[in-house]
Chain length 349, copies 4
């Protein structure tokens, strides 16, 4: 992979994650002078800065267009890596086509994250060639660099993780990998997310009057990020509860995770376990105190802290991230960095 | 009109103003034991508290239904007064029909507020009998009790004022009635409103991500409340500017109004003018300081304060109200009180 | 106790709970014409509506004063029931004095809620006569009507519960009383509260810039409401975890409580258990869905809903209330109603 | 001035503007490898990232300290340019001392912005040598690059403009410079600012409960930014009204400015005037629509748009900026860029 940048494209730039992806790629050191090709489903071209005025500057990005999607266009522009910031149905059909056209793909949707059939069922894909889907799925990598760094480097299709899933998997993995957790006691993940996680479509629950001055639990015992968490953590559904809540803030996730250790530990031991596990992970910050949303938002980090009960067995892990960055666009760029042989945190720290 | 209550009905209870109207009517002292008939456009009946869980109590309101609208139903239930908390197109066709059925009407929409043809044009009514519309319009009263108390008492159709218009007309009327204002200098009304003013339909601008952490001016030189303000204040378009802004709060309006006096006044004179003008208006509070949204919200008052420049001629009037109460449902109940011969503030103070 | 009202007094009306208490008492049907005596620590009298402009009306409450506190004043005004909306140190010294003066007391602070010495230690009371304190404590009643209705009726000193504690005790008590909960599995209470719970003093964490667009866990494994929850639920510290979080909203608490049942139950059984337990509790609403903060705020209810896992053993209970109402002032009035022999929900539903 | 960076120092990094300044300087391309010296009033050194956890990364900034201020320390570290993000009293005494030590200074406070004695009086400086103060004042430059770019390049002391003042001066200057505005009609500036503008000290008005869900006008006819606006725009107090309001958002200013032209203009003419005036200003964006706070926040731009009445004479200019960036830290860096001979927008676009 060349050090002098590659040609990227972004499909789905109109959404929140797509906008953050555009911002990150436009400022990425390895991509200077090679802005992404932006493609969308509109019939005609639209100025990127008409769509997102905050991206305007006086140095030319205002000249960038979002053009009608076609494989021909991508080919003509020499696109090598395609980001899909599209709905999962769209990603489900476009990713195999992109691979067939020789493109590498980072897909931000839930379309290709899941190996277990029952977990996939919740997305309800229709009208597809099952054999093709299975083959593509098998060839994909779950794009959580802290767990799958090595495979991501050579992957053709990277399935970027869900935002909730990122916050919870990163909080639990070190403890589970060390076999410290008493799984019979059950793990509770109580998560809270800002409204951008619900997408840009105006709906009853994204209305300001619904979300503001409110808090509500939703998708209790039925959120579709559950599948990827179980798969990545090797847990059974009976061993973990995940409850998402809708916070009255634009962005940010805080997950409060409750575990019981099989044996008594002290604070220094837990701290060391986390720090060692993430020693070579540039985008995880281990804090000596509990992280807060305001310190993670608008960064590409996942922040982790914990507190141990006096009994040394009950432990509360708090993890925070920006759902649009480490939970979406930032992680997608992190995956690009790995796929291109660049520093994992290039353009992100 | 009897002292022992009347039978009311509410059409359009699903919206924000309709919900507040339901709440006020259910708690109104003169209507105890005679809850409103709630009607909507759904084919079947819906429980009121399924629509608005916050209205549930353990004393029976949970048994109330929102029933499919029909004139027969209203007749059967003995409805005497109909509140229309419906879109203006709906109110434009239902109000004449209601009058024909012998009902008195308080309409919360903009359908019947305007006398001047050009002001009405902005609402773009179609497919209506112009002669009927003209006759109904002529028989209606603009429902701002502080100005038209006497006419409201006997009106068959009361056109409840717009929320912005209420805040601005009440701020300006005493000064204009006293001929204090130098109209050649122009009047500036810079208004800011919470999101509920934009209605319950999920749209791009009511999305939490658009409204939160933001402020935006909109409908500059073209808001449809302009017409009723000009008519009620006897002003020409060239004499007044009205600029609405969308605030990142659920409810409340603050209007900052700038006038220049023809002659020098002192603070005591201005204060006295306001206090005298509203001496018999129970739902206007004149403050010695500038009012704030937080003190007006969830009350049925319009709060008014002012500050005079050292020159004694430039004056800033700040007026606040809850757009769903004094700006909509509260004022509708105030009009009902007058129409029924009750105390103007019954159930509102 | 007479049906024609009693003379109340409120100490500490400047705070958020004190303000809500003033509002409730001024509108209470049994206290019409007998407004509370408001007392504070200022040297001179202050107008109540200068302190809280939102309480102003045109019918006289603007004439009410907050007067310098003295036992003589309370005696002179014939006060029979004193509400202490004061800091716990203040309540700790005033409550015994009030009892000695023959007053009945509802204390909204944490001063008198706790029987167990270690639970009390966290409040660190100093310079007090231990024997007197013990005697007063013993004579007090924990003012959660749903549990102690009968004792409250005749109590001289009612210790109004903490806001978090109310939401959690009411969520858990029916399940624990029925011995359904497997205590070996541990109970997790993940609570989220609006900023008013932190009081009116401007501090680093009540600053808008800290609280807005943020979420943070605090007092983890060390919140002082833990004691009253353990006492009222007969639990050991090892059986329950309570984690409070600071929400970026003015008011409202939502507690997400996780329990595991000893035996499989179905939804109807759980629903029936809750409904029966609270059948005669007018200020608890059992919802068929999960409650949200926006539906509880500005009501005097505690709303409860639940969701059962497919295994019929893991259950999530969500409870919501307004921390200033059912979590403070509303519950204080509820206690007054019981102490006076009135309907429990008088002036509250 | 060397292209290879200079040694900077920042006093007052604990505040909001100081934090943003730290962030900008740490990422500034010309300062790589030469982080600022951070100094404060604490007796001992504090880690920068303990003060501002969001500044932590895995590349070393966590090792940075905020050290006790002394001129010796600054000298020892070879500081050439000192940013004062300190209260105005502090800046008033430190700036002359810094100049005497041969340092160049960018002061973010209001201490050195004003030439007219009456405008300065509002800051009430005491115990100072009037002759020294006068001399320093005379040697200072008002640091608004769009107006004083040339003088800033060689200035020893740059007085960074106020946040409100920046938004209003930039909105009005092109129109006033072209003599288009009818000054007899008066100019109205209705401004709205987020809470960070009020500083980090916890006060009654920065309490979340005061600011949230609220809007309030303050300092009406008496805000201290008025002086710098009048001076920079060559206006008399009688020709302009400035009314600030406190918005319930963390950051961002929107100013709605009302002017009347002496002669009829069309939209194209106004647009051209603005675009020409700011043709060589990289940090002003002229929009074809009205700007919003959400598009300016977290950028270093001032965004300007306008709307003309049909009469071609009444014009509403809306200007937006981030009060901590173009209104404070961003503009301070812009001034540093000019003082060092770098591109004006280096590290800012």
């Amino acid at each position: 992979m060349r050090k002098d940048g590659i040609q990227t494209a972004v499909a789905g730039v109109s959404g929140y994650a797509g906008m953050e992806l555009a911002r990150l790629l436009l400022h990425h050191p390895a991509l200077q002078g090679r802005p992404p090709v932006f493609v969308g489903r509109d019939a005609g071209a639209v100025r990127l800065t008409d769509m997102h005025p905050q991206l305007a500057d006086n140095n030319g990005s205002s000249g960038l267009l979002v053009e009608p999607f076609s494989w021909e266009l991508l080919k003509k522009r020499g696109v090598e890596l395609l980001f899909l910031a599209t709905p999962h149905e769209q990603s489900r059909s476009w990713a195999p086509e992109a691979l067939a056209h020789g493109l590498r793909v980072v897909d931000l949707s839930g379309a290709w994250r899941l190996r277990v059939h029952e977990h996939r069922a919740i997305y309800g894909f229709h009208d597809e060639d099952a054999a093709v889907a299975e083959r593509v799925q098998t060839g994909s990598v779950y794009g959580l660099p802290e767990l799958h760094r090595k495979c991501i480097r050579t992957a053709q299709l990277v399935a970027n993780p869900g935002c909730y899933a990122t916050s919870i998997i990163l909080a639990l993995k070190p403890l589970l990998a060390a076999s410290w957790v008493d799984l019979d006691r059950g793990i509770i993940c109580d998560s809270k997310s800002g409204v951008s996680g619900a997408g840009k479509a105006p709906t009853a629950t994204t209305h300001f009057m619904y979300a503001a001055d409110n808090l509500s639990a939703y998708a209790v015992f039925g959120h579709r990020h559950m599948g990827e968490m179980l798969e990545q953590l090797n847990l059974k559904e009976s061993q973990m509860i995940f409850t998402p809540h809708l916070l009255p803030i634009p962005r940010g996730i805080l997950s409060t995770t409750y575990v019981t250790f099989r044996e008594k530990k002290d604070t220094a031991e837990v701290d060391e376990l986390f720090r060692e596990f993430y020693a070579s992970s540039p985008l995880v910050r281990i804090f000596g105190h509990l992280p807060q949303i305001q310190h993670s938002v608008r960064t590409n980090y996942c922040d982790i802290g914990f507190k141990l009960a006096k009994d040394g067995r009950r432990c509360i892990v708090v993890s925070c991230l920006d759902n649009l960055l480490k939970g979406a666009a930032g992680q997608a760029v992190e995956n690009m960095n790995l796929m291109c042989g660049w520093d994992e945190a290039e353009g992100l720290a």
